[in-house]
Symmetry: C2
Subunit: 366 residues, 2 copies
DNA sequence: ATTCAGCATGTAAAGGGTTTCATAAAATCC
DNA sequence: GGATTTTATGAAACCCTTTACATGCTGAAT
């Protein structure tokens, strides 16, 4: 592969001049620039990025560490991250599917020197300690950490409030026997959502210990299987809150298979508002989590931090999780003459429409 | 940040010795190794990856260029890529959301020197030329290219055969007035699927020009909107083939909103077999495309190529697209006593279950 | 004519590692 | 006990760039 030296030799100039053509053309005379560009093209010369990274100490790359990639949540998260990063000329160095804290440490070490910052979402609280190690080297933005980590920015989703609102909605609709399909037991989001559920029950004067909580793993099938447990109850719950939409949809499928009419025989509420949630029948009432926004916001905070040379105070952004009422919870009074899918907008999530500009209603906590 | 020099100085050894501790411990005496490790730990020294990349000419990183990240297909594709890459200690340098061929060239240039190879999926045929430029520098694996490119490996999904089989299935069920919701008109997969649809009609002695083809963009909403066009036809089609599951589900939602009973009033078939396809009601008949496998296989071919120093002959792997019959096409005779979701397996797509070992039925073309 | 600013370019020193080759000390051999 | 091999370490070259500084040159100002 041609190097800057080959080009310099062929053009009869020094490597410094070639370098200047690629970095600051105004420093080189037009004729020389043209000549070098022509020769570089013939030689198919492309500056070696690793070498530039090394000397410039700027990589235009963000490290992204995620616990998993399964499901639309992560899909949208990465999409949001990539979209904003791409817009600023940044690339993404991705690592995922960790088996433990050591694994995640290894991955982050392998990134050092090749990234300008790290955006990480921890699978569990234990692994969160990794962030402390990295934060001494490069800026870190944490996604939904259980608790804040010294020196790291945080962007979080208000899982607790969202779950509480969703549960309250069911209670307001008159339901008294509620069940929940929970997420993975070591997952921070899942835990927060479960807490929100319990809190809403307490708020309503019910005993959260009496509510049926079925373990799940965020996957559709675990929701599907949960139906059997629910159907076996006597008295049977009248409403179910699933910790994410995937499980909610799995649950709905199973309930419908067993002959239940939704939402009349059973109200179901999910969490995340994946795209498909609006397209199942009945449309799923859920809590909207803008995963793309979560990622996009994290990148913006990272880029801000990178722009300032002095270390800035750590930011903490909490994105709201809004209840999105559709039909699966039982159509609220006064809504039944609307189209079944009135929330439909012209072009949701369209690539042209920047995720990053939709943060109007976020709440910033100092 | 501590460098190898700092560690060497603190330990009273040369940088060569420190380097050897991290690369080939057997070259250094146990005592010295312990000392250096201890000091490195105190100094929080981590070898700079950019510097290693530069001199070793090995980055343990794969560049991934994708047209978009929207939807479960890309989600699973990346997941498959990452899973196999991770297992071999590789990281992923991701770039996506391109606005044109120049954009994609820029991105790939920014990767050079930081990657060992490129896995790329082109948004359109035009951009495919980019692959030629890169292939001179690093190995390239193309995902679903329109036509093969000199010097590049190819992993493709048999979109044509899949679409043909899906359409044939509808025809075999007795349907004669078919409609299709097509994908983006410059998208290679979408085009192949449309061709498969046409071919099946021709096979059945029908005129493909008479079949209604509604434009779509692979998103749920475009399927939802297509329902209006379909309902406006007279005589109305009795079956619809959607170019992907997202649009199929959107379509089903709209048809059900309009009061149609599925599959009796209208048969619907999708493409991709996203996880949710099995959980909508009625369960969606579709063509299974294992996106994770597609990505995983691409990584494996890449790693094989990287292992061999001489240039190996380019491989071409075509992954089959199997028809997956569920209920949305009208339950075939003899199936109606089965559970509505008989295909449910214990733990589909579980992370522990390696995507890479499921290639039993792929077809390799020399 | 001299001085000086400004421009185009070259020289050489980083940047942080790996690795070849050389060297000295220790272990092995006869 | 001297020759030879093995082992542990160091010196320096190298990977490919960027950039501070030096140089020579042109043209304007004095």
């Amino acid at each position: 592969m041609a190097t800057i030296r080959d080009v310099a030799k062929a053009a009869g100039v020094s490597i410094a001049t070639v370098s200047r053509v690629y970095n600051n053309q105004s420093l080189v005379s037009p004729q020389t620039t043209q000549l070098i560009l022509k020769i570089a093209d013939e030689l198919e010369y492309v500056p070696n990025s690793a070498a530039r990274n090394l000397i410039m100490r700027r990589t235009h790359t963000l490290g992204v560490l995620l616990p998993d990639l399964y499901g639309e949540f992560y899909s949208e998260l990465i999409r949001g991250i990539e979209l904003v990063a791409h817009r600023h000329g940044f690339q993404i160095l991705l690592s995922s599917s960790f088996h433990g804290p050591e694994d995640i440490v290894m991955a982050s070490k392998a990134m050092l020197g090749r990234i300008d910052g790290v955006i990480m979402m921890s699978p569990d609280k234990r692994s969160m300690r990794t962030a402390e190690k990295i934060s001494g080297k490069v800026p870190v933005v944490l996604l939904n950490p259980g608790e804040p980590i010294e020196g790291c920015h945080v962007v979080a989703v208000d899982n607790f409030a969202g779950a509480r609102a969703a549960t309250k909605h069911l209670l307001d609709l008159g339901h008294r026997r509620l069940a929940m399909v929970a997420g993975p037991e070591d997952n921070i989001d899942a835990l927060d959502r479960q807490e929100g559920f319990r809190r809403a029950l307490i708020d309503a004067g019910l005993d959260p210990e009496e509510a049926l909580v079925i373990p799940g793993d965020f996957r559709e099938l675990s929701g599907f299987k949960a139906a059997r447990v629910i159907m076996g109850q006597d008295p049977r719950p009248t409403a179910v809150f699933a910790a994410n939409d995937g499980m909610a949809i799995g649950l709905m499928a199973a309930l419908q298979d067993k002959g239940l009419a939704l939402p009349d025989d059973m109200a179901v509420v999910g969490f995340d508002d994946i795209t498909l949630a609006g397209f199942v029948t009945p449309p799923l009432t859920t809590v909207k989590v803008d995963a793309g926004c979560l990622g996009g916001r994290a990148v913006e905070i990272m880029l801000e931090t990178l722009d300032m040379e002095e270390t800035a105070p750590t930011q903490r952004v909490v994105l709201p999780a809004h209840l999105k009422v559709r039909s699966s919870c039982g159509i609220p009074a006064g809504r039944d003459h609307f189209s079944r899918r009135p929330w439909m907008e012209p072009e949701p999530h369209h690539p042209e429409k920047p995720v990053a500009t939709e943060y109007g209603d976020e709440e910033v906590q100092p």
